[in-house]
Symmetry: C2
Subunit: 139 residues, 2 copies
DNA sequence: CATAAATTGCGACAAATTTGCAATTAATAG
DNA sequence: CTATTAATTGCAAATTTGTCGCAATTTATG
């Protein structure tokens, strides 16, 4: 908990930004629930202005601390692999439940091949599977 | 071109909807550029009301004709595999260029394994790789 | 062609996101 | 520790994006 806070401070300072109270609050809310919606983020930081939260998210994104995911209809936010364990998502189209899963080495090989073939330098990747979860299938 | 239009008409009629002029225009704009933004979609159909475009996209999504992707900061829209060749994306974080690529059978195997393991029934999936394209790497 | 149902455009709303700027806070030199 | 400077915040207003109700229009059908 304090470890990741220090990591965050270090990461930001290296980029020339300070770890302020609002930024720390947003970070904590992202750790608290993953993936996170903007709405919940705002609700989770009642003493912080909406505009600051948007600005913080934009900064975190630029610094590679946060990434957006398209989950179902709306986007959600989540810490990147440097600040959270790397994983992907299964999303239930019916109930909206989100299940995280790890990727295989096979997948990584595939990504590397694709990137090399397109002369791309990989920074990150996301995989999302949409479908019906166990309980929603029974309909 | 007319083939896909007929396919669309058939698909919609089966679901009890008609292929009207606004819907056809939205479909054409989606074929024209992929992935497509809402803003461009609205601009591409100047004679059609914004609300109708939103309603059309919502309907297309429900009928499995269109899907949303999170590419970069904003979401984008694209025809699903039934109406466009199945593929994934490489997105350049610097210039925003989007390159499509095909998936391997290895990836599909992986997805099936993950789904089975979580008792999920797969409906669709998306993979996005973010990084730097060939020309943007040179910095 | 007549009728019923589906769909559209329009205008008003509501929600989400962005911006300018004055006030506050953080980093740093002295 | 205090003064100074630069970064950051809160606030209010503006913009953009997405939604809704409803009358007018279009489409499907008998």
């Amino acid at each position: 908990m304090d470890r990741s806070k220090n990591q965050l401070r270090q990461h930001m300072q290296k980029a020339g930004h300070s770890l302020t109270k609002p930024r720390l609050a947003v970070f904590a809310a992202l750790q608290d629930q993953e993936p996170q919606t903007m709405r919940r983020l705002i609700a989770a930081c009642p003493s912080i202005d909406r505009a600051s939260i948007y600005r913080t998210i934009a900064l975190f994104e630029k610094l590679g601390i946060v990434q957006r995911l398209q989950i179902g209809w709306k986007y959600k936010l989540e810490l990147t692999d440097s600040f959270s364990r790397h994983h992907h998502h299964l999303t239930c189209l019916k109930c909206g439940r989100v299940i995280a899963f790890d990727e295989s080495t096979e997948l990584i090989k595939e990504l590397r091949w694709v990137a090399a073939h397109n002369r791309f330098k990989i920074r990150s990747h996301q995989l999302e599977i949409q479908g019906l979860c166990e309980s929603c299938r029974k309909d």
